[in-house]
Symmetry: C2
Subunit: 210 residues, 2 copies
DNA sequence: GAGTGTGAAATTGTTCACAGCG
DNA sequence: CGCTGTGAACAATTTCACACTC
């Protein structure tokens, strides 16, 4: 199995999101056309994306909803739970710790760290805030699959370096900086400034005078 | 001026982020190589991205930091402030209302709406939570440039439809659904589930057995 | 010499069109 | 007959290479 474009993986997630709705509504099958509408793609692209991993549709009928959903969960690695640690217990960090979507989707936040003595020893969403100095020791004792970086921009790269050194291979970065990591480490960025500026650009294009 | 790929706009934002750091450090010039390292691109790509909007570098020297930063702010439409409304005052909405990064970057949250009577009349970050029924009337009285959708998934498309009808042309969507909007409307998605699943996929690829 | 600006080449990603199956 | 699966055409994006300027 070759490696797949990240845009394809994004679309697979969208298809799965839609399949969950179909499951809830009790639909037995969906066509590539229906999937395309909600995944922001063309029917041909849906078929191409899926054909990459095998052929699990029935010609003339479409795709079995439960079968395809199960297969996508397998492909995306969503058949297990993941241990997640959260670095940075400020505004963003606290909001993330309280976010129920993590647990719902199989991601368990198991520890929270901060560098600010005023926050250490406190709690966010029932979890004790630990000193960042304990990161290495804790990770050596019990691995984390994913680390969420919710520190100020200036601290993010340093934290990333320490996490990578301690063996974490997946980072979800909320700091508005581009992290430099070895190729074996995967980074997903959630950069709100970027999204806002994309909107600003689009509005500016449409009516530059204002 | 032709239209630019959205990936190019993303990179322009990243370059600008880096230029802010350079300004803070008092650097006078940067090369495409330095910009590339932090923007996650190649030097050639940086030059190509910038050359799209004109040539404001000096050969043998590089780009003037203040000049390029100013030009990028113009290109991205960041020379004015934007009026932002927030729909959904739940967990995510409240966190967003309190987020200082909005105002810092020129985006002013001017109103917050919710559909839950228990929340209406309350306050998030000093802003009164209004009934969603007032959306149309309020927007008719005073336009908003951008609307942030932080509602449950099931309500998001309906809210988007109403916002578009009321003349909002830029949406920042936090709900985990793909919104269908007319081509004249721009949507930026912040979909944390997608980012988590991309990490899950990458981890699964690396060691499928676990 | 160092580093930009840019056409042309290579690569990557998307759409088309149709054969093939249920 | 409808809808999938897929190679082949097409379009977009990235990289290369080098002329050119400071």
């Amino acid at each position: 199995l070759r490696d797949v474009a990240s845009s394809t993986v994004r679309r697979l997630s969208l298809y799965l999101q839609f399949l969950h709705e179909c499951e809830a509504r009790g639909l037995a099958t969906v066509s590539s056309g229906a999937l395309a509408e909600r995944g922001g793609a063309s029917p041909a692209q849906v078929r191409k994306d899926l054909s990459f991993f095998g052929s699990f549709g029935r010609r003339g009928v479409g795709y079995s909803v439960p079968l395809l959903a199960g297969r996508l969960r397998e492909i995306l690695g969503l058949v297990r739970r993941y241990r997640v640690i959260l670095v940075g217990a400020g505004r963003v960090g606290a909001a993330l710790a309280a976010y129920p979507g993590f647990r719902q989707r199989g991601f368990d936040v198991v520890a929270v760290y901060d560098a600010d003595p005023a926050r250490i020893g406190g709690a966010v969403d029932g979890l004790l805030v630990r000193s960042h100095e304990r990161l290495e020791a804790d990770l050596a004792a019990e691995r984390a699959d994913i680390a969420v970086i919710a520190t100020p921009a200036g601290a993010a790269q340093g934290v990333a370096d320490r996490l990578v050194k301690a063996g974490v291979r997946a980072l979800l970065n909320f700091a508005p900086v581009t992290l430099a990591v070895p190729p074996a480490v995967t980074v997903s960025d959630v950069n709100m400034a970027l999204e806002l500026e994309a909107l600003s650009y689009a509005l500016h294009r449409a009516s530059p005078q204002r």
